[in-house]
């Protein structure tokens, strides 16, 4: 597979270069960056010239990604997570005198907090960490193969029930597959909880062609690592689920967009795709079903906003990772302007559960539990399990400590007070208490966690991850961080009440008037911390 992916830098000099597709840009930037450790001006210009793109455009795209360096840097790189979860666990930001060591937002390894990631030329240099799944296999459905199968072996995958859903789908046909997804009531696990079946039917019915299936493996919501567990330890499941989706909606091409900070996952997925091609499970005739399907892996480049579906499309297409206005919706005009089915990795894992020839197992939900618990990790619990029960599963807060708050749903989520942890972890029940399941991130704060510092950390995250397109978010996230900085350091501009009012005013505008969810939710956790925890001594 890898040799048909477009790579421009690798084109031998002297060969005629036909005008390539613009979506070759991001892979070309990665290839050059991996080779040198940074992107020199003349390298960027050469890429632009070769792709027939404006040099300013290529610079504009490259400079929108945090992964790329524009001054000399070694190929060997250590990313140190300085996000909220790892800071609470004692992470120290790297000093300016440490070459090859950079600070990073959440690395999606919160169970290892404080987390680091070592790479060389973009590839991981330490073995994959063991799967952080503390529950016994008997308690797991979506995660039943994790830590059990050899992620590099298609035979082992088959021996553990793999490929059964695809075979079942082939027997019942695309319409029945879609009907099964709709009947299951499955909702998206990427945060918005939109009914999956409606998207499958809409893409199948859409008139544009070709159609695409996109797996959103950008998992960048701070505190979230459940998708990484599936990607790393059950990669064939992702390939199979995407194939079933392509078959059901009439798409022949799938894109698997994985965040740059998951190099082990990328390697395993690329291997799985190649193995599936060799076995005839991908290609011109998928498993003898008479339909074609292939999958291209695309590597993100350090941008949280690229998890937003339309920004993800823009990123794949070779544009800056900026969200697009909806409508039109992806099912009508998504990737390359074509009908597109985009799903989170966990949503896709559920497709295999629903199409199990032995009948669908009961619905479950994955949670990434980190912070002040005895056994941080990825947990799979029946839908409707309470937050309290989940915390118990994870061993509860360490002895001698007291629960202070749970940050539910990541940076875009909200802090839940100890008095409300009996809430069932469903969309409806969490909404009723003003919280959200979101990405399923559960960051547990005990009485030693500095909530005000955590809130400031969240504000810093949003300031750094705003794409900059719209005014409420581009400037609002800055004003929010400035005010929180003053409050945390005890130097309010005017009274504390005035600062809080300033935050409210900015927050309301971000929520109401931002283009995408990043700006719309950038004030959520801050508001909750002020209103329900009185972090700045202001309860109103």
């Amino acid at each position: 597979m890898s040799d048909v992916r477009p790579t421009l830098v690798g084109v031998p000099v002297g060969l005629p270069v036909t005008r390539p597709r613009r979506d070759a840009l991001l892979p070309a930037l990665h290839e050059a960056h991996d080779a040198a450790g940074w992107l020199a001006p003349e390298v960027l210009d050469a890429i632009a010239d070769r792709l027939g793109l404006g040099r300013a455009e290529v610079f504009g795209v490259a400079s929108s990604y945090a992964s790329f360096a524009f001054t000399p840097r070694s190929r060997r790189l250590r990313r140190v997570c300085t996000d909220v979860m790892c800071t609470a666990a004692g992470a120290v930001p790297p000093g300016a005198d440490e070459p090859g060591v950079v600070a990073s937002p959440c690395l999606g390894r919160c169970e290892q907090a404080p987390a680091v990631l070592d790479t060389e030329g973009g590839r991981a240099v330490v073995p994959v960490a063991p799967a952080p799944v503390p529950q016994p296999v008997s308690a797991r459905t979506l995660l039943r193969r994790v830590g059990v199968v050899d992620p590099a072996s298609l035979d082992d995958y088959r021996a553990h029930g793999g490929c059964a859903a695809l075979a079942h789908a082939g027997r019942i046909g695309p319409a029945a597959v879609r009907a099964a997804i709709t009947a299951s009531g499955l909702t998206g696990r990427g945060g918005a909880a939109f009914p999956a079946g409606r998207k499958w039917e809409a893409v199948a019915a859409a008139s544009g062609a070709p159609k695409y299936v996109v797996a959103n493996a950008d998992e960048s919501e701070p505190g979230t690592f459940k998708d990484r567990v599936v990607l790393e330890h059950d990669p064939f499941a992702v390939v199979e689920a995407m194939t079933v989706a392509g078959y059901a909606v009439g798409a022949e091409v799938g894109y698997l967009y994985v965040r740059d900070e998951y190099p082990e996952a990328i390697a395993r997925l690329e291997h799985a795709i190649a193995a599936a091609e060799t076995a005839g499970l991908l290609g011109p005739d998928v498993a003898g079903l008479g339909v074609a399907f292939r999958i291209e892996v695309r590597r993100g480049a350090g941008a949280y906003v690229c998890g937003e579906e339309t920004a993800l499309f823009a990123s794949i297409e070779g544009f800056r990772g900026e969200p697009r206005t909806k409508p039109p919706y992806p099912v009508d005009a998504g990737l390359f302007g074509r009908p597109t089915l985009v799903h989170n990795v966990e949503t896709l894992a559920n497709v295999l559960r629903i199409l199990d020839p032995d009948g669908a197992a009961p619905e479950t939900k994955l949670f990434s539990v980190s912070g002040a618990v005895d056994r941080p990790g990825c947990y799979e619990v029946p839908m409707g399990t309470t937050l309290a029960a989940l915390l118990d599963l994870a061993g509860g807060v360490p002895v001698g400590r007291r629960l202070q708050a749970v940050l539910l749903g990541g940076a875009a989520g909200t802090f839940v007070p100890p008095g409300e942890i009996d809430v069932p972890l469903t969309v409806e029940a969490t909404r009723a208490i003003g919280a959200t399941v979101g990405s399923g991130a559960v960051f547990v704060c005990d009485d030693t966690t500095d909530l005000a510092a955590a809130v400031l950390g969240i504000a810093t995250f949003f300031r750094e991850e705003s794409c900059g397109q719209c005014v409420p978010c581009r400037v609002g996230t800055v004003r929010q961080e400035e005010a929180l900085h003053r409050l945390v350091h005890g130097r309010p501009l005017g009274s504390v009440a005035e600062e809080v009012q300033r935050l409210r005013d900015v927050g309301a505008a971000m929520r109401d008037a931002s283009i995408c969810g990043l700006g719309q939710f950038a004030w959520n956790a801050v508001e909750g911390a002020i209103d329900r925890f009185g972090v700045f001594g202001e309860r109103s």
Partner: protein, 294 residues
């Protein structure tokens, strides 16, 4: 059939009926919510919206309340749909517009941007409330060629110049948005000077800039000398004589302060409604005339 934004092509002759602040208005199919507001006699502030560039809806000052929509809706780009109930003066709308003004004016020099004062009064915007240490985009003016200057301290990132230079008109792609978040700017590759970039000095970016961040060198020099005098300026339309295309030029002529000083062309624009130019020119029309005098 869809347009660039994926909307279905409007049905010719068909109309759409909506309400704006309770008043019923009928607009042609394909009209925007902004058009509907205008038809209802409501003045809507706009900043990033220009009449020659496809709306990017990034400034968010034109937002309105649409019944059934959780977030506010950018009126400049959303199509009017049958039965839409549009609120243009609700507390949420007023607040969002006030905050867009406060956020922009506290970070960008809007002193040459039209209507800002009037709107700031209308919406009660007080940009100073973020204090003297609020981050801004202030930076030195880029004066690197004889044709025009770039003062990105005035830039609201409306994306119009990059769209005019790129896909929508000029196809030169000399400038693009670079960086991200609050650090995003309009830039050439690696921030090289315009003479080192692909720029062909068509000046079509100046034409669309709503904030005067992009300014004719003549205007910039006159302003620097304190000699910029709009009250002595007149506009005359003429047809460019450089080639056979027949572009309409609008010559902006400033009369001399004294009889000795003489008149000079201080800038050249083209009517946005012109079917030949759509507001766009080339270096000869835009700057050639000026050079005759300088």
């Amino acid at each position: 059939m869809t347009d660039g934004a994926g909307n279905p092509a409007p049905a010719p002759g068909a109309t759409v009926t909506v309400t704006v602040d309770g008043r019923t208005v009928e607009v042609p199919d394909g009209a925007t919510v902004l058009d509907a507001c205008t038809a209802a006699g409501v003045d809507t502030p706009t900043l990033c919206f220009g009449d020659t560039i496809t709306a990017r809806n990034v400034c968010r000052i034109c937002v309105v309340d649409v019944a059934g929509s959780r977030a506010l809706v950018p009126s400049c780009s959303r199509r009017a749909e049958p039965g839409m109930e549009i609120g243009t003066d609700t507390p949420r709308v007023r607040h969002a517009r006030r905050m867009v003004l406060e956020l922009l004016a506290s970070s960008v020099d809007l002193s040459l941007t039209d209507h800002v004062e009037e709107w700031s009064i209308r919406y009660g915007a007080d940009p100073d409330r973020f204090g003297p240490d609020a981050a801004t985009v202030a930076q030195p003016v880029k004066v690197d060629n004889d044709c025009f200057v770039r003062d990105y301290s005035r830039c609201i990132l409306c994306y119009q110049c990059t769209d005019a230079c790129g896909e929508q008109w000029q196809h030169t792609f000399a400038i693009a948005i670079a960086g991200r978040g609050f650090g995003a700017t309009v830039s050439t590759e690696h921030d090289v000077t315009l003479p080192d970039s692909a720029c062909v000095y068509c000046g079509n970016c100046i034409e669309v800039c709503p904030t005067d961040a992009l300014m004719f060198r003549t205007e910039f020099d006159l302003r620097t000398m304190g000699a910029w005098a709009p009250e002595r300026q007149t506009r005359t339309d003429t047809i460019c004589a450089f080639c056979g295309v027949g572009c309409t030029l609008t010559l902006h002529v400033q009369r001399g302060a004294t009889d000795d000083e003489g008149d000079r062309i201080v800038k050249v624009t083209s009517p946005h409604g012109s079917s030949v130019t759509g507001g766009n020119l080339c270096i000869k029309g835009r700057f050639g005339a000026g050079h005759v005098h300088s």
